[in-house]
Symmetry: C2
Subunit: 447 residues, 2 copies
Amino acid sequence: MTDVRQRTVNPSETTKSEIDNAKDQSDEEDDLAPGETTDPSTIPQGTEKTPDVLDGALKDINPRWRNWIIRGIFTWVMIFAFGFVIYMGPLALVLLVMAIQIKCFHEIILIGYIVYRSYDLPWFRTLSWYFLFASNYFFYGESLAAYFGVLLSRAEFLMPFFTYHRFISFSLYVAGLVAFVFSLVKKHYLKQFTLFGWTHVTLLIVVTQSHLIIQNIFEGLIWLLVPVSMVICNDIMAYMFGFFFGKTPLIQLSPKKTWEGFIGGALSTIVFGIVLSYGLVQFDFFVCPLRYDDIKEALSMDCERHPVFKVTEYNLPETLQCLFRIVGIPWTNMKIYPFILHSICMAIFASVIGPFGGFFASGFKRAFKIKDFGDTIPGHGGIMDRFDCQFLMATFIHVYYSSFIRVPNPTKLVQHVFTLKPEEQIQVFYMLRDRLLAKGILNGTDS
Amino acid sequence: MTDVRQRTVNPSETTKSEIDNAKDQSDEEDDLAPGETTDPSTIPQGTEKTPDVLDGALKDINPRWRNWIIRGIFTWVMIFAFGFVIYMGPLALVLLVMAIQIKCFHEIILIGYIVYRSYDLPWFRTLSWYFLFASNYFFYGESLAAYFGVLLSRAEFLMPFFTYHRFISFSLYVAGLVAFVFSLVKKHYLKQFTLFGWTHVTLLIVVTQSHLIIQNIFEGLIWLLVPVSMVICNDIMAYMFGFFFGKTPLIQLSPKKTWEGFIGGALSTIVFGIVLSYGLVQFDFFVCPLRYDDIKEALSMDCERHPVFKVTEYNLPETLQCLFRIVGIPWTNMKIYPFILHSICMAIFASVIGPFGGFFASGFKRAFKIKDFGDTIPGHGGIMDRFDCQFLMATFIHVYYSSFIRVPNPTKLVQHVFTLKPEEQIQVFYMLRDRLLAKGILNGTDS
């Protein structure tokens, strides 16, 4: 909060021409937010702040290249930091996602405060953070129960939290709702309801989707790394193709985006995705899910590989076979990791639909007349500016995984049976045996 | 839409004093919605419209009693209509919930249109209804798969919809998002994003919660009927106690609510809940879930009763036993349906927390300066006015059921095994046998 207030009194950061420009825009527009301020000096503008060391070193360079270099340096800083967290394993990544989620929530809520001039609304900040806490409590609990239920059921003192998880979460939420109703003040009804909605839409976008990311991590690191890298690759390559070859504007919302960047980005992403996937599928570390092994009684990343990570022989389609025969190559089939084929689908989504996450974010920023969501990363803007497409991509991967990749897992079903009482375990066993016998799948002598 | 436009030009419905009144209010308040109109004549005001027949019959009666009578008549009309739908069984109730959900969505979205004067926003209405469709497709599919998966897996042509359900739903949603981005028009960014948020908050409140109601229905009609009746009872009794004895105002948000009504309502609801529960638990029709019986190959409402619907003997607490001993009654235990005890918890929620759903709705209506959500039910306002507390209650019941009532269901687990391929079914069987043998739960001679 402090840094925003500082920015509002620092004239070097909002030039007069920026203000005039914003005023011109506002004349064109007949939409004004409730209590919205059109004076951009009070809204965070992504200050392009640069560490002093870099500033000194780059002061003689042409500004166009300068921003490119700063952005490039911090891209690599982020990539290396990310690499280190990957090296630390799945649980460190979960913590990273958690931290990013909190920062994104903070950035969006801060914009809400400022746009609706609601510094002084009673209890509002406390309530927003409380709802963030309550919804995270709910989602983390659900994920932990789904993936580590067997482990958690060992710790006696955790059992009530596990058994009554939904009830506790609901009580937390209802307490927040009751507090909201009590916090209502006649003068501010409209602002309070608007910000209540604002908080909930933010929770919907940030919290729910970041938990899908966490679930992707638990299915195997590759389900996080490949899509995240694809989005980054597409961002960078679209920027570079646009920078060097960009001519034809793509969409009114993001005037800097061009068709050249879009197409160059897409092709690069497909190639990059294939190469990266081929590299990662070699290592069990990336393809095996973290799970609780209840024979070894420890967390484990050993696994029988999922079929998509095993080399499989495919017959080539007839037409392709003909083509090859004509040029004298007798290829009729090929051996490939099926994951490589899936990675092509992911790359297409990342480069065709993924950018709409970014367009949506651009539209949002334009609606509220802000340049960036924050100024956390020099040359890049806020955390949310870098994650706008990641969220949509993560949801896609989650859905893609559960529709096309997930196979019913006999081991998990058996683990599920062991959450029952012993007499019910026996009951399941006999029911299953009788049904299998009746269907002739099992014959009498087997059992 | 038509009726709202009619209302805006019909002076008999918004009297001058109402307008002046609203103007006075708006002077006090410094919050104005984006493009919000403070002129109440353009916002639906709940016209207290009454069918002509009734109007004639009641014209000589004191207006205070008149509204009471109209409200009373339509309360009974609704109760009888509801009774008829119950008689038709669970699937008819699901359709009713669906219809109510659509009407509530319509009422809230209509308010959004009018408050933000967005009749002419490109594509907005179409997109709102499209998102309603997409989210319902998702939730209905999930519920159907969870409760009738075995049945659905019989119909070959439905299989792709079942297997790829999440992917189809996600694609539908993403198509809507892409359409939204393309529909953005520079002049209207702010309105468009505000209404996008409005639509999503409405979906969150109406669609998600109405699907919890549907899931409650599938667990047994009693899980719908008892809570719904409790909320109705609490509404009516609080109104009546308030009407006859009300003196002390309860909360600033709803000036008509009094402590006398609140307490009278709560006590009546507890007593009513006990009586109603005792009545309903006698019938299998109310306590058995609708499920697919894959031996009979038909939908069935026969069941082995859940333990909460079987008479159980409880030892009274020591202190109570002492008290009874002192007065010479040797009661040490009592026989009761456990559901009766649960119904007391539900009644307490319905009368203590439930009304906050109503307060929230009141605050919302005040924020946007509307009297009712619509004028669908004479004397009551819109459908949403009657369902504000029902939604919160349904969520409570859902959470309560899954935390305290649901028992792991061996039959469902076994059904789940049969969604696997035959060789995997065998695999589960042997894994289960080996584990049970290893744990000594099963001994060698059994199998």
